[in-house]
Every structure is written in C-alpha cells, then in structure tokens.
Symmetry: C2
Subunit: 375 residues, 2 copies
C-alpha cells in the first residue's frame, strides 16, 4: 500500500528566542504526519532531517507519485518505523528551503527577503521550534525522536533540552560534534558559495541570480564525504566516460566519477538555497553539547533521561563509528539504557539512507520494543 503524504504548515506568531540572542517571529514550520495519534497520545515519533532533506520523510504526494520521502525505506506501513503503530511526524527546520520559514522568505520586520540576514540557527533552536510544533499537535511526550547524521544530533539534543518529553532517542550515523576535518569540509563549501560573484553577500535574490557555481562545488565536496572510498572504487573506479581511450583534457570530463559529481552538483544547484546551505553547515559546526562542560561529554549527557539506540556504519568516515561510540560511552557513564549497533556496510555515511537489511532489522526490533513497552 502506498502511503500518501500531505505537506502541512503550522504558523507560529510568538517570537522564538534563538541561541544567538536574535529571535524569529511570525514563522511557519512545514511538516507531515503519517499514521494516527492514539488516544493516550503516546505513540508519536518525531523524525529530524539532515542537511539536504525536508519534512517529506515517507510516502508520496498524491499528485507527485515520483516524489518519494527521503526515509521511505525506514518509515511506512509495516516498515521498521511502522506507521500502522506509530504517529510519525516529519518537520522541516527553520532556515531550510523546503517550506519552513527560511532565507528566501520575507522578513516581517522589513518586508525584504531575509537572504543572509536570516538569523543563525542552531540544533538547539531547531529542537525548540520542533517542541512548539509538538505542543501545537497536542503531544506532551514523544515515544521517540529519531534522525540520521545532523538529524541524530537533534535527537540527542532533544534528550538534553527536553529530557522529560522523550522516551527514546534514535541516532544513526551521528556524532557528538564535528571534528576539525568536518568543519574544514564545511568551510570549503561555504567559501565556494560566498566567493561566487553571484552570491552578492547573500542577497542574490534581489539580483535575480543564484550562486550556482558555489552550490555545485559545495555539493561535490559533500558527496565525496558521504561515500566511502571503497564504494566509490566499486561504483566508478577509474572508468573512463568514453571507453578505453584517454581524451587528454583538463577541462572536459574524462572519468565517470567526474561525470557523476558534476551531475550531482548541477542538480543540487537547481533547487537548494545557498543561504540555507550556509545556515545548516553552521548548525553542524556549532553543535557541541559538551562545550559548556569543558568538553566532558559524560557530564553533558547527564541530563538525558531517554533510552537510546545508536547505529553507525563501518565505512562512514564522515561520522565514523568511533564518534558514535563516544556518545555510547558518555551515556553508559551516566547509567543510561543504550543499545548500539555497528553495521558492516560498504556505503559510507550515505548508508543511513539506504536499505541495508541488518540496519533496518535493528531499527525494526528497537521500535517493536518501544511499541511493546506501551501497548
């Protein structure tokens, strides 16, 4: 049975105070829900998205049968996160470009498009905004909050900001903060965008242009870090685009991997907002719950009350298993209930979006446990 998704908007009039000291007022969050909230309102699962994703988590739109939710392999009727049992909520974060208020919208204070004046948002700000959405949906406590990569950071932050409102947190291919190398890749992407002459300091909308060159480079860099060296070698290796003969060219495509990256970059530059890219990569950079505990993650996670499932993938070099194990250790130091699975998968960071049977089975078993706890 195909799940039919409906994109909805929730309007918030009260200002949201942000970590930076700024605030946003009169904002909209785009969201989708799947399944039915039970009478006890105890079966809600919030899904948090990563860099290039949205509230469209599962199913398809009735009028766009090809537009499949980004975690459709995970979420739906009879799937690991079973929408026949759980009321699943997908939400688009503030500052994004897929429906929620973001840089391409008008600032209600000035009437001008925000552009780069959109306030800097953090993982904590997103969680605060998500909590208000949950309030508006009449849900006091989530059965689970779940996400991969940056989404996993939001799940972790929920357990610290709203410890009594989350029963379970599921973080896949995540990390307690970015390494210097992670930040470095983000910075390359940002510099590619901001030094594109079409960026115009982030007010390119007014010039009728888009910094596509920068977005393309940003996406190409990102893609390299999402894949493992192994899977790139397996998929592309040193294959030439034109048979066996070299063309001896520095500017044209010679290898298949180049063709793939250019295609990904071009596609991305057609739909993704440049200011959103800056905001989301910065939210990644900034996330660091241990910062105000002198870097001591165990002390930082002492506030958490939820039970946890963490999943990592052996070939993920962006957020390696070692990073997930840091979270596991810190939670164990606090005597928390934590399940951890390290999945032997070849696909690198991208594995969290793919249909690996072992991975899906681990999540399925965990959600069966959640369902059993409160049946």
């Amino acid at each position: 049975m195909t799940l039919i998704a409906h994109s909805q908007n929730m309007q918030f009039d009260a200002p949201l105070a942000l970590q930076s000291g700024a605030s946003v007022r009169g904002y909209t969050l785009a969201y989708e829900t799947y399944g039915t909230l039970n009478a006890q309102r105890s079966n809600a699962v919030l899904i948090c998205h990563a860099l290039n994703a949205s509230h469209h988590v599962a199913g398809v739109y009735a009028d766009q049968p090809g537009n499949v939710g980004w975690w459709d392999s995970m979420i739906g009727p009879g799937k690991p996160v079973d929408t026949d049992r759980f009321f699943v909520i997908g939400v688009n974060n503030l500052g994004s470009c897929f429906g929620s208020t973001g840089p391409m919208h008008a600032n209600p204070d000035t009437g001008r498009i925000y552009g780069s004046d959109f306030p800097v948002v953090t993982v904590e700000d997103w969680v605060d905004a998500q909590a208000r959405l949950i309030d508006a949906l009449g849900i006091e406590r989530l059965a689970a909050v779940m996400g991969g990569s940056l989404g996993g950071m939001q799940a972790l932050s929920w357990t610290l900001q709203y410890p009594d409102r989350v029963r379970h947190a599921i973080g896949v291919a995540s990390a307690p903060n970015l390494t210097a190398e992670n930040i470095a890749f983000n910075e390359v992407a940002r510099r590619a965008i901001t030094t594109d002459p079409d960026f115009h300091g982030g007010h390119f909308y007014e010039h009728g242009v888009v910094p596509k060159r920068g977005l393309r480079i940003a996406r190409m860099v990102g893609h390299i870090t999402y894949l493992s060296d192994d899977v790139m070698n397996e998929k592309f290796g040193r294959q030439l685009r034109n048979g066996l003969e070299l063309q001896y060219t520095t500017q044209d495509i010679e290898f298949q991997i180049e063709s793939y990256l250019r295609y990904q970059g071009d596609k991305f530059s057609e739909y993704f907002d440049a200011n959103t890219y800056l905001l989301i990569t910065r939210a990644l950079d900034y996330f660091d719950p241990a910062k105000r505990f002198d870097g001591n993650l165990s002390r930082a996670l002492a506030a958490a009350r939820a039970k946890f499932l963490l999943v990592s993938f052996t070939t993920d070099w962006r957020f390696s298993p070692a990073r997930s194990r840091e979270i596991v250790k810190a939670l164990l130091d606090n005597g928390r209930d934590i399940s951890y699975a390290e999945i032997d998968a070849p696909h690198g960071h991208d594995a969290f979006l793919l249909e690996d049977p072992q991975y899906l089975a681990v999540v399925r078993a965990y959600f069966e446990r959640i369902a059993a706890e409160h049946s």
Copy 2:
C-alpha cells in the same frame, strides 16, 4: 653549513613528443644541482617534485636566505641524501609555474601565451623530459631517482620507461594510481578553478586577472587531504578564533581551522598558476602503469630492473600504506629487490615533507647502502 642553491635553465630545441600525440618544442627546464658528480658519473640522484613544488629542493638562494628548498630536511651535506656523497638534481616539470616552460609562457608557434592551450602532460612525459636533462648533464645512469607523492609516481615510471638507467628508485607516500576518491577531490579543485569567472577558459592572462577564488578553493580542498584527521584535531580541534564565545556568523571566521585554510588558500592563489594546477592534477589522474596490462600491476612492473625503497605513513589517507603495499606486492611478484617501511606518523600525507626521525633514518640507511654498493 648552509647549502647555497643556484637555479639554472636548460634549453631544449628538439620537440618532445607527448603521450597525447601533441609535442612541445623550444622548451626550458629549470633545475638545480647540489654536490659534485664523481668521475664515474655514478652518484647522481634525481629528485622529482609533487603538485606544489619545484626544482628548488634543498638549500637556500644566496640572495634569499629565507627561501629554503622543499626537501631540505632530507637533502644536503650530512643529511639522509648526503650531497657530500651524491650529486643531487632537482628539476621543475614541464607545465609547472616555477621556471620550466608552462602555460604562462608564449607558445613559439603562435607567439601567444599558452594558457589552457598548453598540451596535457603526463608522468611519462615528465620522465622523458627529465631523461633528456640527464642526457644533457652527461649522466647515463642514475644512482637513484626519488620522489614523494606524485614524485614517487615519477620515480616508479622511470624504472619502467628507462629500466637500465636507474639503479634505485625511492617512492615515498606514493600510489600506483589514483582511486576514484582521489580523482574526485582533484575534480572539485579543477571545477572550482574553471568555473571561476576570472578563468576565461584558461586565457585569463590576456584579461589581466587570475582565478583566485578557484585557486583558493582548490588549495583548501587539497590541504584537507594532506593532513590526517588526528593532526587536524590536535592542531586546531574545535578552537574558536575569538576565545570561547561564538560569534554566530556564517560568512566570517569562527573556528581556527577556517582561518588556517583561508590563509593557505589566499597564499597559494598569489603565486600558483591555475592552468598548472589543472595540468598537474590531470597528470595525477592519468598515471596508471597497469592500465595497458588490464589493471595487472605485477605485469606492468615486470619491466623494472631497479632496486626499490618504498615508504608510507600510517595516517596518510590520500595515498594510504595499502597503496604502497600494492606496489610492493607487484615488485615482489617479479622477484625485485624491495625495501618497504611503514612509518607510524600522525601527520597524514604531509608527513613525507616533515622531519620524522624514523623516516629520515630509513632513507639515510638506504642511501648508505647505495653509496656502499658503488664506493
């Protein structure tokens, strides 16, 4: 004792046929020599450079005491490659931007600056050009050819193109070819350069501009791959540039690693030629001696007659130890004399340029063996 270096030029009038089918005529190679060629002409060591380096391998120029050769820790009087014993030759490759004929020079056929019309050069072409230089210096057979990274590829190629002219080949932090991921990083750098509006299809010289935005991005990407995750964390970690407080900015520098990368990018864009960057990364992409042996490296290396020293570094993820071991295995399959050292060093690919005592000791011992063989 400080070694004083003298940059010299050798002019070649006979055309050099390139792998692409094109040829270069009327070209110059810049080179330096250190030490004295012995009467038997048997103590010559050729040093091949990598992406961002030149013929200025060791010592300083009399009028530029701060301009130290890029491998000065390795080469000089009493150093591992001892210029009191060996006659060491540093050479700048064709297409480079440090003295040898390259894209910023005039094409003798048209009188116009080559720009992107400079022919595509390969590792094999460089080796052919180096062999002519060696001819001109009156050297029939090299005691050793040595290089790191791309320089190691040239050393390997020497043993295949001129098996009887090389007694020893020393390849440090090298690889038998690039992986898809390696090519992908090169392609990001190239696209950043070629899509910079100041690139003008590679004829920016005529417009009085330089594609600095692209060069900066290229260098930033490169730098990330030269360092290990560990050393980046150790040197920069999550340190902020301004104390402990976040500035909440997407465009300004927040983390020290950003400051470092921007500085490296800026510096590089001031002196490196954009067309040279394209040419050298392409030479890296193309190098693949096993290609015409259906990918069988053992068969490809059957032509080699030299003795080998290969060195790799544990944290080098650009050219990992596994890549050096591929070469080792292929040479062993051919019964070659091969020494291999895997150095436990934290610095990633950059380690080949640094003063690691174990690494320097391994090279020193190997060159003592070379000296003893022919003393």
